[in-house]
Symmetry: D2
Subunit: 146 residues, 4 copies
């Protein structure tokens, strides 16, 4: 498997995303993962909104997250996304949520790591194959291809 | 206008509904309002889910909330709902979010007051009249009828 | 390991918890898990709000969810919770989100399965041991004890 | 009152912010308003996170929103913010959520209009005066001063 440089986008923590523990509530990282894969796809020429209009919805069938350090209100976070596996019906994305390290602008602290597996559903809600032109581009992007 | 006793339902504050100020984030009262009107309608024999399946969606066109006292994690709150106005296309609900007062179980503190106005939309997203049997029951429930 | 009957509580799907796919957005199951463990603890005589006031916050350090079938608006779901592992600093809860099967009220469909691992943090945000009286009760409840 | 040009920032609609009606759930505009005032303040040299660290939290005491047109998934919206009133203890912000009009890039459609009134709270949760240097800058920014 050839490792590619991950895609990067940023998000700023909203007030309502914190909880009374004083940092980002754990469920609120899940939309960050989604933002990561949406921008990954857009930058690769794959607009998810168009894919859905073409009758191919990507539903999350598995979610995993590991929380390492807290993220605080108003901080700008980096969302790293990689498309690690792609079959005709499923795609797996891996994510890391990072924060610029104090002092060294090149240093990043890992706050959260996770992945989601998505399955392609047709308009009837049943599994369906990812069709061209999306299928080919997604295969190209996957890191697990031979 | 004849005042009726308001409908009451309860909700327990979830952890993720608080923010770092230590109490419920103001946007998170809006779903409480929605829970209030949903249960009001159900208890009046009007299931909103069925109304939507029948091609009449109620979209919020106006929202107002006034925040009086904070609500804290894990507290059980009372949602009071009244249907104050109903026309052929619009419905207004008024809400009060209450908490049982310490000491006196009969005493309630007002935490938040608000109202929403909803407009009926057809499957095409355009305004449509509320049809029977929903229309008659909603008119009956409104407090502003002659 | 002795399997115990799981704890059960219910939740009704809110409108705002759905997304344009027409069913519950995957991130919105995470608060259901939290409701499950909160009510599990309350029914076992452990109020999490009091535990936090006593200086022991339980922060989620790992989250896993597997989505099997969609949950729809206004449906009443059952949250099953089991406390499967408990050490001095970490607790693991397993969850299943169920829906009463059509026809047979005794039948339940599994919509989502998952688990969370929580670590105990002190007021300074650093890991700390779970102290009495919480520690003993949590150990009793865990299914992995000898 | 001298009208100033409103502050503008942008936000892209997240998938989880939609509901089964197919557009942004009404409560999810409230965080957009918050993003608007946060960026307004930052661009005016007032970092809200620092204000809160200095013991002055701004809690929303009133919220109003009027929904004109739906906002759809993945659209980039413009948040317009104006600080219209400022006293020693309260601040009112007005908002408009806009979308670039199809065809004419200079044309904008209004999707939602609203305002929030915020009160300054001290670390004890009680109303407190906004102190320098925040007070002076906020007064300068308000459009209602003589």
């Amino acid at each position: 498997m050839a490792m590619k440089a991950p895609h990067r986008t940023t998000v700023r923590v909203r007030y309502g995303e914190t909880d009374q523990m004083g940092f980002v509530y754990h469920a609120n990282y899940v939309p960050y993962f989604e933002m990561g894969r949406t921008e990954f796809m857009r930058d690769a020429g794959l607009c998810y909104a168009e894919m859905e209009k073409a009758g191919m919805a990507l539903a999350v069938v598995e979610l995993n997250a590991r929380y390492v350090r807290p993220a605080f209100y108003d901080q700008e976070l980096v969302i790293e996304t990689r498309l690690v596996q792609a079959s005709r019906v499923r795609i797996r994305f891996d994510y890391r949520i990072l924060r610029a390290g104090a002092g060294d602008p090149e240093a990043f602290e890992v706050l959260c790591e996770g992945h989601t597996t998505l399955a392609c559903l047709g308009p009837d809600g049943r599994p369906t194959r990812i069709r061209p032109p999306f299928a080919d581009r997604i295969r190209e992007l996957g890191e697990d291809r031979a």
